[in-house]
């Protein structure tokens, strides 16, 4: 029996209507297996509707899906819908009259632009568009959260800072369950009950082992004053007359650092571990006993470090692949990049306008806030560049270094690369058979060998190699044919991305009528 929650007050935003299942359109059959689509794979029969930004931002936010009449308030819409003979019935019957509709976001870079991520109801897509792509004009005074929709802002302002739970350690919570969970494990409680039992000031447990990781170990200052929270749990410091089995409340040494009071609304933040790599955090220090050492961890970490990109959209500076290569070879991320500046000719490497690429760039600093970037390069441009990898692409690649033999007919091999390959293989055989796993915390992984091998091949004719170990002859070799065909079929180097970005910008600034709807449909 299907309960369609959509008709009841939609409490949590984009609620029950799922674009991923069509079971809501079929009456439940006991014997037949319900066809269930994978998440993200909407009903293939659904009609995909793409509305314009103007429509989505229109004030009459509540639109009847059947006749497209708009209403300012959800209640009015519901009343109206009844006139269409109970919409939920229509949804259950896979009828010819009303086809299942899913809606996509007009913003091309948006995840919901893709039909496989369409949203199942009109209200949902409108809300989404408004909130995500609309201008956030409304700002909360207390916590500076911004909202695109006035009613959201109003609703937030009502609760912002009202319900607050405060732990003895000073952290604030707006949600009770978060508060309770935190409190249960917080040091403040442990110390307090120890105090209650032993009547002595907080002791550090001599048994506790020194913490291997470098999470900052501040003792949480046990707040002596009882929490003034409006609805606190029962008074914190009664010493309960020791009931039944005497429990040794062993004090656990405070290896945690409790956060100083947070803004309300925000969940307590995880300790800001020095994030040297955007991805991984304390690679070198948080190794658990399962990993065998720092070397490969940081090697791999630097491989995937997201670093401060010097490249921005306006000012592309080609990060050097060799840096990456060198980073792979050494445990510590290199800080000096002395590799030839002739990197300009490398259109292959990460030197796209994008900048915030997966692999490390010069100066493995942690990336600060990245400008909201759409995949800045168009498929066309990327393909052009990939094509320039040319025939060399078949040789001495990352993968080849691992012994994966190419089955594709390679059109010509460059000597240098050949040598590289040979060298790699030699080195590999002489090294401890460490295997190929990148996850292997041991310095002689195949990847490392390859990477150590390649820089030495930089000859005058080769400017540099990209991470895949491809050489690019200056000036570009003969483009790989398949890619060229694609490029020409697409029709040239129009940078569609730019055009799209321009269009998108105009959406963002679209007129959003502030004359908003009375009732917030949440």
């Amino acid at each position: 029996m299907q309960v369609d929650l959509d008709n009841s007050s939609i409490v949590s935003g984009e609620a029950s209507v799922s674009s991923s299942g069509n079971q809501s359109t079929q009456p439940p059959k006991p014997s037949a297996k319900k066809k269930r689509n994978l998440p993200g794979m909407p009903d293939p029969d659904a009609e995909v509707i793409a509305l314009s930004p103007k429509t989505l931002l229109a004030t009459n936010r509540f639109v009847c899906e059947i006749c497209n009449k708009g209403f300012q308030r959800d209640q009015n819409l519901q009343l109206h819908r009844r006139g269409h003979n109970l919409p939920w019935k229509l949804r259950q019957r896979s009828s010819k009259e009303v086809k299942k509709r899913v809606y996509v976001c007009p913003e091309p870079s948006c995840v919901h632009h893709n039909p496989s991520r369409a949203l199942g109801d009109l209200t949902g897509i409108k809300k989404h568009f408004c909130r995500k792509h609309g201008e956030k004009k409304w700002k909360c005074d207390k916590c500076s959260k911004k909202y695109a929709v006035q009613s959201d802002w109003k609703a937030h302002s009502k609760i912002c800072g009202t319900r607050e739970y405060k732990c003895d350690c000073g952290t604030l919570f707006s949600r009770r369950d978060s508060f309770i969970t935190h409190r249960a494990f917080c040091d403040a409680l442990a110390e307090e009950s120890a105090r209650a039992q032993t009547q002595t000031p907080a002791l550090v447990n001599p048994n506790s082992e020194p913490d291997p990781n470098t999470q900052p170990v501040d003792s949480s200052p046990p707040a002596p004053a009882p929490p003034p929270a409006p609805s606190p749990p029962p008074a914190p410091s009664p010493s309960p007359s020791p009931p039944a089995p005497p429990r040794t409340t062993r004090l656990i040494s405070p290896v945690l650092s409790n956060k100083s009071p947070e803004l309300p609304e925000k969940p307590p933040r995880i300790v800001e571990a020095p994030v040297t790599t955007g991805l991984i955090g304390n690679c070198s220090s948080t190794t658990s006993s399962s990993s065998n050492g720092n070397t490969s961890c940081s090697v791999f970490a630097s491989l995937f470090a997201s670093s401060t990109a010097s490249a921005s959209l306006q000012n592309p500076q080609p990060p050097v692949f060799t840096d990456l290569i060198r980073a792979m070879a050494r445990p510590d991320p290199p800080t000096d990049m002395t590799r030839p500046s002739s990197t300009e000719t490398i259109s292959l490497c990460l030197a796209t306008n994008h900048g915030s690429s997966l692999f490390g760039t010069a100066g493995q600093e942690r990336r600060q806030y990245a400008p909201p970037s759409q995949p800045a390069m168009s498929a066309t441009a990327l393909l052009q560049k990939a094509a320039q990898m040319g025939a060399a692409a078949t040789n001495a690649s990352l993968l080849r270094g691992f012994g994966i033999v190419s089955s594709s007919s390679s059109s010509g091999q460059q000597d240098g690369l050949h040598w590289s390959q040979r060298q790699v293989e030699t080195e590999k055989s002489s090294s401890v058979p460490a295997g190929l796993g990148l996850g292997h915390c041991d310095g002689s992984s195949g990847l490392k060998e390859l990477m150590m091998g390649t820089p030495s091949m930089f000859g005058p004719k080769q400017t540099t190699l990209d991470f895949l170990g491809l050489g690019m002859a200056a000036g570009g070799g003969s483009p790989s044919s398949g890619l060229s065909a694609l490029i020409t079929s697409i029709g040239g180097g129009l940078d569609v991305a730019t055009a799209t970005a321009a269009a998108a910008a105009s959406y963002g600034g679209a007129e959003f009528s502030s004359k908003d709807i009375g009732r917030r449909s949440s």
């Binding site: 369950d177 494990f185 995949p375 990327l382 990939a386 990352l398 594709s408 460490a434």
Partner: protein, 444 residues
């Protein structure tokens, strides 16, 4: 939107001189990606990369990887971030294509990150991915143990008892007074994030501390399922499922669990069952570990069993099908985190990295090393039904509680009922399901 896999796709000939007789599969991949590379294109590219790896087509693989690399970014928009983790997994897989001679412990390439217990408390509340299950389960448990003076919870989860403070709190407020509560956990858990920097015993101590503070009689037990012999150690390395087999043998031998007559037994499986292998081959009795567990548990006479897990079928043997499904499922946490955390938020990056860990396991590993064997709610429910359990629907009160919880999160989170499951949705897409079971014949 099925991605075209291998095989030739026709490309319009506009420049015959450049066109080779051998058509590039890459052109097929990018057919239609005229402008920026959106999610659909990224998915296609990932699939092409994977199939290139499977067919040893080095050229294509690296071309695609190069393209992907230029789009991917762990600090970009959700699509870019998601892609960066997928790309990483594929590269990791590439490096594993040939088996190694040295003992390969199967650990991931992503360094493990340990959290403090209060950090973990915040972590599980970042998005309702876990808290949804906690809330629905605790509410159902509370109802099921009404009238019992003692409760024993067998806790199988990966979140280190984060679920229990709210239950203890609710028990403390029971009008007839709290029952005695006993929680038993296995000593080892699946080697997946979130990871804690303290031992299970210490967690238990803190929990006990809290229970005492709330005047709830409490006991905490860890049953040791780690290998006690040298042989056991070796077996663990060979087969991570050994830990599970040990759990099963404990369950088969209830005296080891110290079950009591007057106790309501609760079996709690939170994001855990998916780590029990569903493979049939190699198992002694011809049943998978998963099915074995489901069957064994009945013999314990539980009052209630709660099962919460991720609602997606991700244990197919076909890599490309896993990529597609995984890409179209795990976009959810990335998308959700985007709504309220800035791009450089370390909390966000760390959470995403943990999801990346899952992606890596699903994409980059095979065989027993691929421990993430997600199964959709419908399918998993079928297993329970086949084993002779009855699905108990959630009562209205529970539904209300969950709704109230979701209200406090970003507005994209929702909930729906599917058959007798409660499903957490993000923008309408299924993410996590919760179910409640009782052995057939025991229902009230």
């Amino acid at each position: 939107m099925k991605a075209e896999l291998k095989g030739n796709t026709s490309v319009s000939l506009q420049s015959p001189t450049l066109f080779d007789t051998r058509q590039s599969p890459l052109s097929g991949a990018l057919n239609g990606c005229l402008g920026s590379l959106d999610g659909a294109c990224l998915e296609k590219l990932l699939i092409h990369c994977a199939s290139a790896l499977e067919t040893n087509d080095v050229t294509l693989a690296q071309q695609v990887m190069w393209v992907l690399n230029n789009v991917a970014s762990s600090v970009g928009d959700p699509n870019q971030r998601l892609t960066s983790w997928f790309l990483r997994a594929l590269i990791s897989r590439a490096s594993r294509v040939y088996p190694t001679t040295m003992n390969f412990d199967g650990s991931s390439t992503i360094p493990k990150r340990l959290m403090s217990v209060t950090e973990l408390a915040g972590y599980v509340d970042l998005i309702p991915w876990h808290r949804f299950g906690f809330c629905a389960s605790n509410s159902a448990i509370l109802k099921a143990i009404q009238g019992f003076p003692r409760v024993h919870i067998l806790d199988f989860s990966i979140t280190h008892c984060m679920q229990w403070p709210t239950l203890i709190d609710a028990l403390a407020k029971r009008p007839e007074g709290p029952p005695s509560l006993r929680i038993t956990v296995p000593s080892s858990r699946p080697p997946v994030p979130p990871l804690l920097n303290i031992s299970t015993e210490e967690v238990g101590l803190r929990l006990g501390n809290f229970a005492k503070y709330r005047d709830v009689p409490f006991e905490f037990h860890v049953f040791d399922n780690s290998p006690s012999t040298a042989l056991g150690e070796i077996m663990c390395k060979e087969s991570p499922s050994f830990h599970f087999e040990s759990i099963l043998s404990h369950l088969n031998n209830p005296s080891m669990l110290n079950l009591r007559e007057d106790e309501a037994l609760v079996i709690n499986c939170q994001h855990w069952l998916r780590y029990l292998s569903d493979e049939l081959k190699g198992s002694p009795h011809g049943a998978s570990l998963r099915d074995t567990f489901i069957n064994i548990v009945k013999g314990l006479n539980p009052q209630i069993i709660v099962v919460v897990d991720e609602d997606s079928d991700l244990s197919a043997s076909s890599l490309t099908s896993r990529i597609t499904t995984c890409f179209n499922y795990l976009w959810i946490p990335y998308d959700a985190l985007e709504t309220f955390l800035p791009k450089d938020s370390s909390q966000r990056i760390e959470y995403e990295s943990d999801v990346g860990h899952k992606i890596e396991n699903i994409i980059s590993f095979e065989g027993f090393q691929r421990i993430e064997r997600l199964e959709s709610g419908i399918k998993l429910s079928q297993r329970w039904k086949n084993a002779g359990y009855l699905n108990i629907p959630f009562c209205e009160e529970t539904v209300k509680e969950v709704r109230a919880l979701l209200d406090e999160h970003a507005s994209g989170w929702g909930m729906k009922k599917e058959e007798d499951m409660l499903v957490l949705t993000w923008k309408g897409h299924n993410s996590v399901f919760a179910t409640v079971w009782v052995p057939n014949g025991l229902e009230d």
